[in-house]
């Protein structure tokens, strides 16, 4: 059975119990539901999540916000994530088809966020069980958004039935299913793909262009759809979770794109990688390089993602330099030209950079570039 239906299926009885029990038992219901789900789908993930969370909470409680403790905790959480991300270790220790522990990319980053905020002494008063409820929150466990602990705690303390929020949640789930199944899978991946095959023989560049559009929009609809489902499910439990996408295809420049695409991850990178690096090095280029590399490695540790990250670093730096030139300020005075041109360039850059991920190797990518720009082979 597909994971998404399993999650939706588990949530129906869970929601019913959640809203029937007293408010002191509500968190227990979600945590138990999540544990049962993980026992069924990924016991390894359950062990990793349980041990790492307990370790973080009690280490912080014992040593408080001592800088050495914070650094070693962050290194150990990042180390666990790296251990599972690097394919070689997976092949050595597990069978090669083994997936990552379910949702580890998301909960590791939530844990690092918690450690950082603890260090800054910005966390409201909370208990161990509040922390566990934050990490064992089924709706956002599997695909994010990487929500923040203080906001979670605020909703956690309220926990009152809200008609409007509940119906908003159901609406978001429906829209999410629509984005994934109808727009992403049926229209883009299936119909547009088979339509594009008409052009393979006569217009190979057009076929490749379609392939690029299909890959980008399919990725967007899949991811945005699953985020909608997660946000919708959270709303049915009375939690307002931050948005993950804000029409990224309308971004007018590459910096704007990163404020619209996977917002929770880019904000995380901004707060916990970019800002600290900038305050240490005082260098924009190094900070942006480091944060985009973390962002790329978060997706997958492979040279394809590193190159993809580097292309975005280059674009962000070019944009950073260009935005302070006279040419930019002159063009900016004409929004009729600037806006569509900005959108056109940004979306095409992003789509081409995504092809770095889609193609199997660099030769294939170069082939794609030659075909699409009509370069004579």
């Amino acid at each position: 059975m597909s994971t998404i239906f399993l999650i939706l299926g588990i949530n129906i009885p869970l929601l019913l119990i959640y809203w029937l029990v007293n408010s002191q038992w509500k968190n227990t219901v979600i945590v138990v539901g999540t544990i049962l789900f993980l026992v069924y789908i990924s016991p390894l993930s359950l062990i990793v999540l349980l041990l790492s969370s307990t370790f973080i909470y009690f280490t912080l409680a014992k040593y408080n916000s001592n800088a050495r403790t914070i650094v070693s905790l962050i290194i150990s959480i990042a180390g666990i994530l790296l251990f599972f991300k690097i394919n070689i270790t997976q092949q050595l220790f597990f069978n090669s088809n083994q997936l990552l522990p379910f949702g580890i990319s998301y909960y590791s980053f939530r844990q690092i966020h918690y450690i950082f905020e603890f260090y800054k002494r910005k966390l409201p008063k909370h208990t161990f069980f509040d922390f566990i409820s934050y990490l064992f929150f089924l709706p956002t466990l599997y695909i994010g958004p990487i929500n923040r602990f203080p906001a979670f705690l605020k909703d956690n303390q309220r926990k009152r039935w809200d008609n409007q929020l509940f119906s908003y949640g159901l609406e978001r789930i429906l829209y999410g299913l629509f984005k994934v199944a109808f727009l992403g899978n049926l229209l883009i991946s299936l119909k547009l793909n088979s339509y594009s095959e008409n052009y393979i023989a006569n217009f190979p560049w057009l076929y490749q262009y379609f392939q690029m559009v299909i890959f980008y929009f399919n990725a967007y609809f899949q991811f945005a759809g699953f985020s909608d489902i997660a946000i919708g499910l959270s709303a049915t439990y009375g939690y307002r979770i931050i948005e993950n996408f804000n029409y990224p295809f309308l971004a007018g420049n590459i910096a704007d794109f990163w404020k619209r695409w996977h917002i929770s991850l880019s904000e995380w990178c901004n707060d916990y990688v970019f800002q600290p690096t900038l305050s240490i090095t005082r260098n924009f280029i190094i900070s942006i390089l480091f944060s985009i590399l973390v962002l790329a490695a978060w997706h997958e540790i492979s040279y394809k993602y590193i190159l993809w990250g580097l292309s975005h670093v280059a674009a962000l730096n070019i944009w950073h330099i260009y935005s302070s030139t006279k040419l930019h300020s002159r063009i900016e005075k004409n929004p009729i030209i600037q806006r569509p041109l900005g959108i056109f360039i940004t979306i095409h850059f992003v789509m081409i950079s995504f092809m770095l991920i889609k193609t199997d190797n660099l030769m294939d990518f170069w082939d794609f570039i030659q075909t699409i720009f009509l370069i004579h082979k």
């Binding site: 597909s2 429906l174 199944a181 049926l186």
Partner: protein, 45 residues
């Protein structure tokens, strides 16, 4: 859209509209899922 219909035609018409809207979307989701390739494949990152 819903608010516009609500203000122009009243609560009942707006409710009928929104019900049809949701059913139409649900219908599209269901016919998509009927195609094997359109099913959910996400594994959990």
């Amino acid at each position: 859209m819903y608010n516009w219909i609500y203000n122009k035609f009243g609560k009942n018409i707006a409710n009928i509209f929104i019900t049809i809207w949701y059913l139409a979307i649900l219908f599209l989701v269901l016919i998509s899922l009927d195609t094997y390739q359109a099913r959910f494949k996400y594994g959990g990152w």
